[in-house]
Symmetry: C3
Subunit: 352 residues, 3 copies
Amino acid sequence: MTKTNPGNYFEDFKLGQEIVHATPRTVTEGDMALYVALTGSRFPLHSADTFAQDLGYEGATIDDVLAFHVVFGKTVPDISLNAVANLGYAAGRFGEPVYPGDTLSSVSEVIGLKENSNGKTGTVYVRSIGVNQRGEMVLDYCRWVMVRKRDESAPAPEAVVPDLPDAVPVSDLIVPAGAGFATYDTVAAGSPHLWDDYSAGEKIDHVDGMTIEESEHAMATRLYQNTARVHFNQHTEKEGRFGRRLIYGGHIISIARALSFNGLANAVRVAAINGGRHVAPTFAGDTIYAWTEILEKQEIPDRRDIGALRLRTIAVKDRACADFPNVGADGKTDPSVVLDLDYTVLVPRRVG
Amino acid sequence: MTKTNPGNYFEDFKLGQEIVHATPRTVTEGDMALYVALTGSRFPLHSADTFAQDLGYEGATIDDVLAFHVVFGKTVPDISLNAVANLGYAAGRFGEPVYPGDTLSSVSEVIGLKENSNGKTGTVYVRSIGVNQRGEMVLDYCRWVMVRKRDESAPAPEAVVPDLPDAVPVSDLIVPAGAGFATYDTVAAGSPHLWDDYSAGEKIDHVDGMTIEESEHAMATRLYQNTARVHFNQHTEKEGRFGRRLIYGGHIISIARALSFNGLANAVRVAAINGGRHVAPTFAGDTIYAWTEILEKQEIPDRRDIGALRLRTIAVKDRACADFPNVGADGKTDPSVVLDLDYTVLVPRRVG
Amino acid sequence: MTKTNPGNYFEDFKLGQEIVHATPRTVTEGDMALYVALTGSRFPLHSADTFAQDLGYEGATIDDVLAFHVVFGKTVPDISLNAVANLGYAAGRFGEPVYPGDTLSSVSEVIGLKENSNGKTGTVYVRSIGVNQRGEMVLDYCRWVMVRKRDESAPAPEAVVPDLPDAVPVSDLIVPAGAGFATYDTVAAGSPHLWDDYSAGEKIDHVDGMTIEESEHAMATRLYQNTARVHFNQHTEKEGRFGRRLIYGGHIISIARALSFNGLANAVRVAAINGGRHVAPTFAGDTIYAWTEILEKQEIPDRRDIGALRLRTIAVKDRACADFPNVGADGKTDPSVVLDLDYTVLVPRRVG
C-alpha cells in the first residue's frame, strides 16, 4: 500500500459520505500580515484591533476570504487532488468571526454525484463546513468539482444533483450578535458611503490594478496549505496545457475583494458566497482589475445598524474596467474576464 | 458621486487643513517577521525580546523604519495619490517605541502650499503625526510632494513655504525614558563599536549588496497599505515613463538601513529624519549598496549611557561603495545614487 | 580599524575556541506563517495549537527545521562568511521544543582544524549549540566548512579532526518528556501510517515537486538572518562561477522536509541530523522533488507510544523520483541530486 496520498477519484466518493479533512490550522497574526502583504487588503475590521473593539469585537478578525482559503485548503487533498475543474460554489455562509489564535478544521459531506457521459469524469458535489476549536461554524459552503475516474469501467452511481439555492436568503445571513455598527467610524474606515448610499443596479469600477508575481500566488496558496499541484510545479506544468503554473483561483477572489475596497470600503464583512465561477485561468504577470454590480439591497431582520448588499464582482485581467466589461449570459463574455463572483456583504447603515 | 477615492488634487488642499487618515493598523509579530524577511534587518532591539527587556523595554520593538512606513502609508490615499514626485522630508522625530499589538493611525496638517509656475502642479507641505492607540506620538515628520491640479484654471493659493529646520536639534530627540543602555551587550548586538568610537567625517562602506525582486517590494509596500499605483500595476506602468513598476522609495530606506548594520550595528534606534531625497528611481533587479558619513556626533543632555550620531546614508544601485560614490551639491552626483538620507541614530556609549 | 565585519579566516580559528554569536532572535507566529508560506509544510504539530495540546505540548511548536535555520543563521557571520563550501553535518540533536515567543541564540566551539594541502584553505569543525531564553538546549550539532586563509603564508595549525559519529544513537535522542502520543489523531494528521508500518529498506517517492523563485529563497534566508552573500547579491553573483545567486542549501532541506509529508505525514518531529551533504547547487527556477529510504527502525527506550526512523532523504531538481535516482557511493550519483540528508524522525506507534 502506497504511503503517499493518491487523492480520491470519482468512484471513491459515495453519496452521504462524510470526510474529516486533515491538518487543523491555527490562524495567527502572522497569517494576517502575510494576507495584507499579498493582497493589499485595507478593510479596517481586519486591520486594527481598536476599530474592531469599538464595534464590539474582541479584536481585529481574520479576513473572511483568508478564512475561506484555509477551510477550502483543507479539503483539497481529499476532494480535488484529481479534479479537472473547479466548477462552482453555492450556499456559502460565514458564521463566527475568526480571531488570531483560533484553530480551523474542515469536514465535508458528499451531497451529489453525477458521472459525465464520456465515462471518464464525474461531478462531485460537497458541502464543506469549517469550524473553530470550539466546534462553532465559521464557514459552510457547497462546491462542485469535476473529478477523474480511476477506472473508466467502474459503474456510474445513481445521478444525484443537489438542489442548491441561487443565493443565500437574507434571513440566513449571520450577523455577529455581539457587534453593533451604530458607532461605525467612516473616517477611520476610509469612505463615507454606507448601505443607504448604494442602489440595486449600480455599477462600480474599482479602478486599481494589481499585477501578480509567481512567488506571490505560490506563497498565498502554500499559506493555506492548499496542495493542488498545478500551482507549484513548473517542471511538470511547462509540459501541460498552458505551459506554466496556474494561479489558484481563490487568490483572484482575494485580489478582487482587496481591490473592491476602492468603492466598497465599508463592506465590513463577507456574509455569503451565493455563487461563483472561475471563468478563465490566470498566470503570473497578469494584472487584475475588478468591477462590481449591486445586485440587491437587503434589509436585515431586526437590525437597523447594518444591511446587506448582494454583489456581483467581476475580475478581469490586463484591462481596465471603466466600461464594465460584459459577462452576460448571452455568450458575449469579454475575453478578459477571469472571475464572476456572486456574494453578499454587510455594510453599516446611516443611523438617526 | 463616485464612490471610489479620486485622491486630492492641489487645489483641494487648504493651509491649516487637518486630514485624519483612514485605516488604523495594528502592527504585529507578523509584520516584524515579514520586515526581517524582506530586508534582512538584524538590529537586536527589534529581533529579541530578551535583548530589549535587558535594556528596560517591554520586549522587542517594531523597527523604526517599519513604523515610519505604516504611518506614511496611511497618508498616501489623501496626500499623494495624485503626486508627481515625493520631494523631501524634514523634522522627523520618533517618539514612543512601538510594540507588537499597538495600533497606529495618522493625521496630517497642511503647513505649506506653493503652486508651480507652470500652473499644472503645486507643492503641498504636510506635517504628519502617527500615534498609537493611547494617542501617544510615535512619529512626527514633515514631507512635501508635488501634486497635480485637477483644473489648471483654478486660482493659485497664496504661496506659503514653511520654515523647516536643516536638522532636528539634539535637544528635541526623544530617548526612551524607561530604557538604560549601561548594560548594553555588544556581543549579542554583534559589534564592539559604540558611540565613542565614531568620529564626525568618518565614512563607512556597508559592503553588502541586496538585490530586490518585483514581489519583494510589492509585498513590502502592500504590507504598509501604501496604495501608490506605480508600485503595483505593470499593465499601466509598461506604458509609462519607465516601462515598469517603480519600487517604493521607502523600501530603499529599509534596505539601506538594514545594510548599515554592517558598520553601525549598535545604532539601536532611529531618532530623527532630518532630510532625505529619493535621487533616482529603482526597479526590480537592482542591487542596492550603501555607505554612510558621520555628519555629527552629539551628546544627549542628561544621558551618559547613549549618544546621537547624525548620519548621511547614501544608497546606490549596481555599484559597490568602497570609494564612497559622490553625492556632492556640485552637480557631480554619481549616477548610481538612488537615496540621500540625513537622519539621526542613537548609539550606546562606553560606560565607566 | 574597520567597523564592518570581515568574518573570520581559517587562521583566526583556534582549537577549543568558544564563539558567542550575535543577534538573539525571538521566533514568533510571524515566522511560523512565513515558513508555511515559503515551504507549504503541513506537519500538524507545527500547524495547530489544538493538535499539539492534545499531545501534551503547550501549543503548536516552531518547525524543527525552522529552528535549525535560525540557530544556523546566527553562526554564519562568525563561522562561514569566508567559507568556500559547507562540507557536512553530524551529531545534530534537537532538544527542547521551541514555542512562538522563545528567543534563540547560538554559541559555537571550534572542535577541529585541518589546513588543506594547497595552503589556501582549511577545514573548520564547529559544534554549535542553540539555546532558548532559559538556556535550555534546542539544537546541538556539528558542521564543518572549508574556509579561506587570509594570509596563505600563515602557519598551519596542528591538524585535529574530531571523531564524529555516523549517526546519533537512539539512546541520545530527546523525546519530549511531557508529550504522549498514545492519543495521536491520524485523521487530523492526514495519514494512517504509523511507525509500525514502516520497514528498513523501504523507499518512498514523495511525488510532488516545488519550484523555487528568487524572492522565495531570499526571503527565507533573510528571515533566518543568514548573511551569506551568495544568496542575495545578483550584481556580484552575475560575475561569479554560476552567473547567479545560489539558493541557501538549508532551504532545500526545508522543501524536502515539507515534500516528505506526502508519505511521512506522521514524522512529527525531527530528532536528529546524522549527516548531510549539499550535493549540488540549486537556483531559482529549479523544481525540487524528494524521495526517502528508511535506513533503520528504532525503538525508543521506555517509550511504547513513539518510535524513531532513521531516514535518508534525497532531494533532486527537475526530475521526478518514481525510480529513486541513485546516490550510491559508487560514484554513479544521478546528476539531478542536490541534497543527501541522513536524519532521524519520531513517529507515533500503534498502541494496544
